[in-house]
Structures are given as C-alpha cells and as structure tokens.
C-alpha cells in the first residue's frame, strides 16, 4: 500500500485513449501489477493501462496522472471516491457520471466535463471537479449534484440541462449556459452569454457563494479574489422554459 498511485505517460497515444475504468476507488483495491493490466481502449482497440503508463505505487485512493493527456478520455468517469489529479491537459469526458470524490486537472479539459454518458439523462451526481484552466463545451451538463469549477473560460453549454449542483466559472462563460436547467446554480465571475429564458430577480450578496468561494480558496487552494467572495451578484432565475428553479449568479461588482 502506498500514499499515491502515480501513472506517468510513457507512450504517447496516437488516437483517443479511453481511461473510463481508471478510477481512484478502483485502484485503491489493486496491486501494482493489476493496475498495469487494467483494460483501456486506444484508437478503438483494446489495450492495457501499462502499455501507455508507468505505474508507481498501489492500493491508494489518491491517483496522479502525468503527461500530455489531451487524447485521454473519460478520466475519473463514474468514480465514487478518492482523489484524482491530472498534471497537465486532459481530454473530453473527465468525471462523467461520477458520484463522489475529487478530480483536479492542472490544465485545460475537453468537452462534457462532469457531464452524462451517451444516452444518459443525467451527468455527475456527486463529488467535485476543479479545472485549473479552460473547459470545452458542456461542462457540468445534466449534472444532478456536485461541483464543477473552471478557473479559466468555459465553452458553450456550461451547465446545460442541469438538474441540480453548482458550476463556477471564473473566466468567460460561453453561450447557452444553463439552457434547459431545472435547478442548480451557475456562478459566473466573468462575462456570460445568458439565455433569454433567464429572468433577472435581484442584485445581492449570496451567502452560499461567499461560503463556497472561501472553501475553494482555503481548502482547494484556488486563487479566488476577495472581490468575488464579498461581491454583489445579479441573480437570474431560469431556465423559465423548464422548471425555472435554477439560477445564474453573475458577479456585479464589489
């Protein structure tokens, strides 16, 4: 047993490398040899994790992935607990359908972070995803519970079809954010292209945003400015074409 399992990219993939089964809760049960033998898919063909990664450590619920993983897909998909840290960029489907634990990506991610599996009605139902970079489209789409944080910009459809949960974007939030949202919160510290089906309610200092941003600063080590923690937010309710119990909180100044 070790403190952390480190997976260092040894052989760069030439096509999509699907890592959906490589989750901390699973690796916490396995010796090093079995971790290396875990099945993955590369460019549509079966392969073993050890074909691409050097494995250090075993039986640990903390996992660190190293290397250029822009072609790696589904990291932390369905994970139920533990901690997954990606030291660099990651591909699409990070943390899809996850139910617990924490993912941190120290780089950009592709589309559908924390979203739903193909054909599924809902995305992540628990846990936390922190992207220290930019996110592609549909971050937090269909999420039922949990937290997605993007320190940079987020693409089109952030929080699209959210059922509940929270998405925080410190940079720019792309168009169609929150479209078809039932409940849940999108906290936009930067500019946001808001759908017309969100209606302005008031400008106030939401106490839970203060608590959440302090948590992100103090417990997750994010560089959250005071102006966002103590600031005023415009509250928009939506999507009024849906249940309308969701909200978009757009930072409005100190």
């Amino acid at each position: 047993m070790s403190d952390v399992v480190v997976l260092s990219l040894r052989t760069a993939p030439v096509g999509a490398l699907e890592l959906a089964g490589v989750t901390p809760d699973r690796l916490a049960q396995l010796p090093q040899r079995e971790i290396a033998a875990l099945p993955v898919r590369h460019a549509g063909r079966g392969a073993a994790l050890g074909d691409f990664f050097t494995v250090k450590g075993e039986r640990a619920a903390r996992v660190r992935l190293e290397g250029d993983l822009r072609l790696a897909e589904g990291m932390g998909a369905g994970m139920m607990g533990g901690e997954l840290v990606v030291e660099g960029h990651a591909g699409r489907d990070v943390g899809v359908a996850m139910t617990g634990g924490a993912i941190e990506v120290r780089g950009d991610v592709g589309d559908n972070t924390g979203g739903a599996r193909p054909g599924a009605a809902r995305g992540m139902v628990g846990g936390e995803i922190v992207i220290r970079g930019n996110a592609g489209e549909d971050a937090g789409a269909g999420m039922r519970r949990g937290l997605v944080v993007v320190t940079g910009n987020a693409g089109r459809g952030t929080g699209r079809g959210m059922i509940a949960g929270t998405a925080v974007v410190f940079g720019q939030t792309g168009p169609d954010a929150g479209r078809w949202t039932k409940r849940g919160s999108i906290v936009a510290c930067g500019p946001v292209a808001r759908p017309a089906t969100f209606r302005y309610a008031c400008t106030y200092r939401p106490p839970h945003v203060r608590l959440l941003l302090l948590y992100l600063r103090e417990r997750r080590g994010l560089d959250v400015a005071d102006r966002w923690i103590t600031g005023r937010y415009d509250r928009y309710s939506g999507d009024l074409a849906e249940l309308g119990k969701g909200e978009m909180l757009q930072w409005a100044g100190e």
Partner: protein, 300 residues
Amino acid sequence: MIINGVTIEDTFAEAFTMRVARIVITGKTARWAREAALKLTGFATSVIGCKCEAGIERELTASETPDGRPGVSVLFLTMDKESLPQQLIVRLGQTVLTCPTTACFDGLPAAPDRLAVGKALRVFGDGFQGSKVIGGRRYWRVPVMEGEFLIEETFGMQKGVGGGNFLILAEHPDAALAAAEAAVLAMTNLPGVILPFPGGVVRSGSKVGSKRYKNMLATTNEAFSPTLRAIAPSALPEGVNSVLEIVLDGTDAPSIEAAMRVGIRAACLGGVRSISAGNYGGKLGPHHFPLRKIMSGVTA
C-alpha cells in the same frame, strides 16, 4: 487552603450530564451576530424553568468562522436528547432566522449525533428554499425579505456537563458582587464553557423541592441565605452577609474545571471570606469538582 486570605472550603461542586450543541452565528458585523446570540440565549438560565440552558461561549474573529465574517459561538444545553432539537428549532427560528445579515453554522461538526435543525427550519421557505453541499456539508438557503438566510442542515450533539458551580461567601453584598464580576471577567471567552445566568451570576441558589409547597421544583437555599441565619440551619460562617453563585455549563468536565480554577482565583478578593460549592451529597450528579484539588492544579 487559603488563597489571598480567602478560605477554599473542603467541598465539591456536583454537576450533571446534559446534551450540548454549539451554534456558530455570523453576521455582517460583530454587532449583528451578537444581537442574534443575545436573543437566542435569552431566558435560558436554568432547565428548571427555561427547559434549556444557553450562553455565549466566545466571540469569533472573521478568520475563525466558516464564512469569513465576525461571529459568536453559543453553547446550548438540555437535560435529554429529545428536547435539544426542539428547543433549537423554536429558538433559532425566532431569533437567528429573523435577525438581519446572520447565518448559522454547526460548531460540533465531528459529533456523530446529528440534529436536523436546519432541515426543519428550511420549510419557512415554503418550497422556494434550496440547498447546497459545500465541502461535504449541506446548507439550506431560505429566501427571506432581506435576501437569503443560510443555515447548516444538521448540528452536532454531544454529552456535556451542566451545573458546575462555586459560591462566593462575602462580608457584604458589594464585596460579593465585585468578586463575582472579577470571576466572570476572568472566565469570559474560555473555550467550552458558558455562564448561563444574568451576567454570569446567580443570587438565588436553590435547593431541590420545597419544605412547604408541593408543586415547587426548587426553592430558596436557606442554608446560604444570610437573613435566615437566626431561624434556619445555616451553612454560613460568622461574618458572612452575602453569597453569590457562579454556575458553569460546558462541553466537558476538563473545560469546567479549568474555568473554575481561573474564576475562583479571580474571586479571591478583599471582603470575601470563603469559596464554597453546591452539591447534593454526591448522590445525584456524576460529575464532582473538588475545590481544593482544582485549586491545587490536580485534575479532579
């Protein structure tokens, strides 16, 4: 044992096991947090008449609270598990929910016994309320005219200690009051302890039941009442003309003991003849605080 000319009597305080919760109230300013805490802890001196005992444990700086605002920590005690959530729901709903700018957090997050206080109060939102999970703890957002009231879903409950005490036996009322004030000042802001009575001081220490009135749960303690010295058995040494009591509740016995040590030492002023304590012969309460051992620095 004599401290600064004051006799520490060879007796002990007898205290009871209670159930305790710690409530952290924050506000835009320390003033608003304090306003809510004062209302919350009003009329909560003794379980005999108030069904609960509560007091401000200490004031908290912004860096000590979950939302980074100034706050107040309150200890809240009842005799049994069932009445603690009942009292908290009623009192928090009428005093903290109503108070401008405040938010309410659990101060015993590690306690395994959880009281669904915020979960009960959320229904004030009449279906418009919502919840958020932050750092593994669920909070309820209750819409109110001011904006939103934020309260944690559950509060921890643990066993505590109620009824720690000591008596200040003085030559005259002014000396007793000065000693009591000094003791309270010395014990203010000590962790894990509250002094639930007005200003931390009790002038009407009681005995259990009544010699004359069947329906009375507690009546005057004539043994320590100077005006009755000539007509009732008295426990007062000669020259004592006024007695004041300090009652302490806390999260655990060591906290009470530490506070008693500080408070008794501060109370040993001119005009005070002795320090005593209230007990029931050791038969009712499981917690005993021997004064001389405490003042010798020996853990009771």
